[in-house]
């Protein structure tokens, strides 16, 4: 059905047009952005990038580094803590399990806005404002219940006979978890990694609240501060830095598509 394909291509093109146009415009001289709604590039200008990169003090490199450190911390935190909790929910038999499991599922739906005020009070008393701790510690404490649930579902699908056999051979739970279940969980761990990467990289609300010192700014916070501090006419450099901030997301998308699609289809992520 060529009509169907034509329709889909047109819809897709219209949807992605603004993003493509932003990329092209970031490579044009600043004043052309207002005049040229097309996608054809006459010449390649990289001034917007150098200008945007050095517009704030420190330069954009610092923010990229900060975001990278933060993202890595969150990924490690989520992988370790969520897989441990998931193992307990999927494989261990303990008192009040259904009740705790219910609470865990409930926290998936808990909006961050509801907990942010007392959490901020707690972390500011601890002197953690303007560090990455308020952003990473929650991940180390398995508060991204979405991933716990995703991993529970995955572990439930693994054959129980494997851990039973290991048990008979005298393995305790720590070894069964580390040497049998964890290696088999790679797809679920990959899904968690890729979602944590994208969500943390994009997250603005909590980073805006906890990171107020420019030295500690992450990419979204810096980008917003850059946009606020420049006159509206310098779209070129704003677009350039926006493109820079989206490149990692785009790469994660290319590398991890398979896991993203699977993760959403089974548990309904964002």
């Amino acid at each position: 059905m060529p009509a169907k394909h034509l329709g889909l291509v047109v819809i897709g093109f219209i949807m992605l047009y603004p993003v493509l146009w932003m990329i092209v415009s970031s490579l044009r001289p600043g004043d052309e952005i207002f005049r040229n709604p097309g996608l054809i590039l006459d010449s390649l200008q990289t001034e917007n990038y150098t200008e945007g990169w050095n517009a704030l003090n420190p330069s954009f490199g610092t923010y990229l580094l900060n975001s990278t450190i933060l993202v890595l911390g969150c990924i490690i935190g989520n992988l370790v803590s969520c897989s441990m909790a998931a193992y307990a929910f999927a494989r261990l038999n303990f008192s009040g399990k259904r009740w705790w499991f219910g609470i865990m599922l409930g926290t998936i739906m808990l909006p961050v806005h509801v907990i942010i005020v007392p959490q901020y009070v707690l972390f500011s008393q601890a002197g953690w404002v303007n560090t990455f701790l308020p952003l990473i510690v929650p991940k180390i404490l398995a508060t991204d219940a979405f991933f716990v649930f995703l991993m529970v579902q995955f572990i439930r699908g693994l054959p129980r006979e494997l851990d039973e056999a290991a048990r008979i051979d005298g393995c305790g739970h720590p070894r069964i978890f580390a040497q049998i279940v964890l290696p088999l969980m790679k797809p679920a761990l990959a899904t968690t990694t890729i979602f944590t990467f994208i969500w943390t990289w994009n997250d603005f609300f909590t980073q805006l609240i906890y990171l107020t010192d420019p030295e500690m700014y992450t990419v979204p916070v810096a980008l917003r501060s850059f946009v606020d501090s420049t006159v509206a006419t310098s779209w070129g450099s704003q677009f350039a830095m926006s493109v820079v901030s989206l490149v990692p997301i785009f790469l994660a998308f290319l590398i991890g598509q398979r896991y993203l699609v699977k993760g959403i289809a089974t548990t309904g992520g964002k």
Partner: protein
């Protein structure tokens, strides 16, 4: 694996209930328990208590009874923010799900290039919540933005979509609809579960595509539609970044993009009125819970379970 099963039964003495692993479970769940106390449920309870106080982070909290909760009922800016948020949720979510379902139907059943299309339509949902896309939106819907450039080609004179209080919210609704990719993927997974024989039988009986959609696809997909609806409503209530960036943190023009979350942020983190912000947080939780409860109640009348 029957041998193993037998071994297990021997070890545990027949059909006896498996022994509890309380100690192991405690250690595996230790981080999660700590998270419950300090990061999730603990703060929810704490924010309830803070809601009864006046607290600015510097002086110790001062008990003021129900003042903060009473203020919720008299605060007109908040009522406006509720109106903005409800409009946003109730307009953008149905539109977003309609697009998701429509495109999913087009993509269903062995269409060539499915994986490519799926990725292309999904990409905006990954980008949509970023500051970068909000920056792009500010330009595209600005007075001299891309939309007005394109409109001028066909002789229509545009306006500053974002600077006009009548249209600012619509630009954010468009942005949310733009991210229909993730519910679309959930729809696609659901469509794949519907047995092809249903359609074959219906076709033999002479049912049109249209009635096949209403009588087979939609009823069988209704649990998925329900799931998407609950999830997307909860997500939409939490939108913050886009309104914040597009309005420069003010919720303007004339409070027309003042989302509830943005108002909460301003009370808590610009004015440091932590007591009122806590009360607002609780009120938000109640609103979301109410919407979810209504959804579950209404589901009885339209969600169809095929078992």
């Amino acid at each position: 694996m029957s041998a193993l099963d037998e071994l297990r039964q021997l070890r545990h003495g027949g059909v006896q209930v498996r022994k509890r692993d309380n100690k192991a479970a405690f250690w595996f769940l230790a981080p999660w328990f700590a998270g419950l106390i300090f990061i999730t449920v603990g703060p929810v309870l704490a924010s309830f208590l803070l809601g009864f106080t006046k607290y600015n982070l510097i002086q110790p909290p001062k008990f003021i009874g129900f003042d903060n909760f009473a203020r919720i009922f008299s605060d007109e800016r908040l009522h406006n923010a509720l109106g903005v948020t409800f409009t946003y949720v109730l307009v953008s979510v149905p539109l977003q799900l309609a697009c998701a379902l429509g495109v999913a139907l087009l993509l269903d059943r062995g269409l060539r290039g499915l994986a490519f299309y799926r990725s292309a339509f999904y990409l905006p949902s990954l980008l949509g919540s970023s500051v970068a896309i909000a920056v792009l939106w500010t330009q595209v819907f600005g007075a001299e933005g891309l939309i007005n450039r394109v409109l001028s080609f066909v002789g229509i004179e545009g306006r500053g979509w974002i600077s006009d209080p009548d249209t600012a919210l619509s630009t954010l609704i468009v942005l949310n609809v733009w991210t229909f990719g993730s519910p679309m993927i959930i729809f696609l997974a659901g469509l794949r579960q519907i047995p092809a024989v249903y359609y074959e039988a219906a076709a033999i009986d002479g049912a049109s595509k249209w009635s096949q959609f209403w009588r087979i696809t939609l009823p069988l997909l209704s649990p998925i539609l329900f799931f998407n609806l609950v999830l997307q409503i909860i997500h939409a209530f939490q939108s913050f970044t886009q309104a914040f960036v597009v309005s420069g943190g003010t919720g303007g023009p004339s409070d027309s993009t003042m989302f509830y979350t943005l108002y909460l942020y301003q009370q808590g983190f610009s004015r440091f009125d932590m007591g009122y912000a806590s009360a607002l947080a609780w009120f938000l939780l109640l609103i979301i819970a109410a919407f979810t409860a209504i959804n579950f109640w209404a589901a009885k009348y339209w969600v169809f379970y095929d078992d």
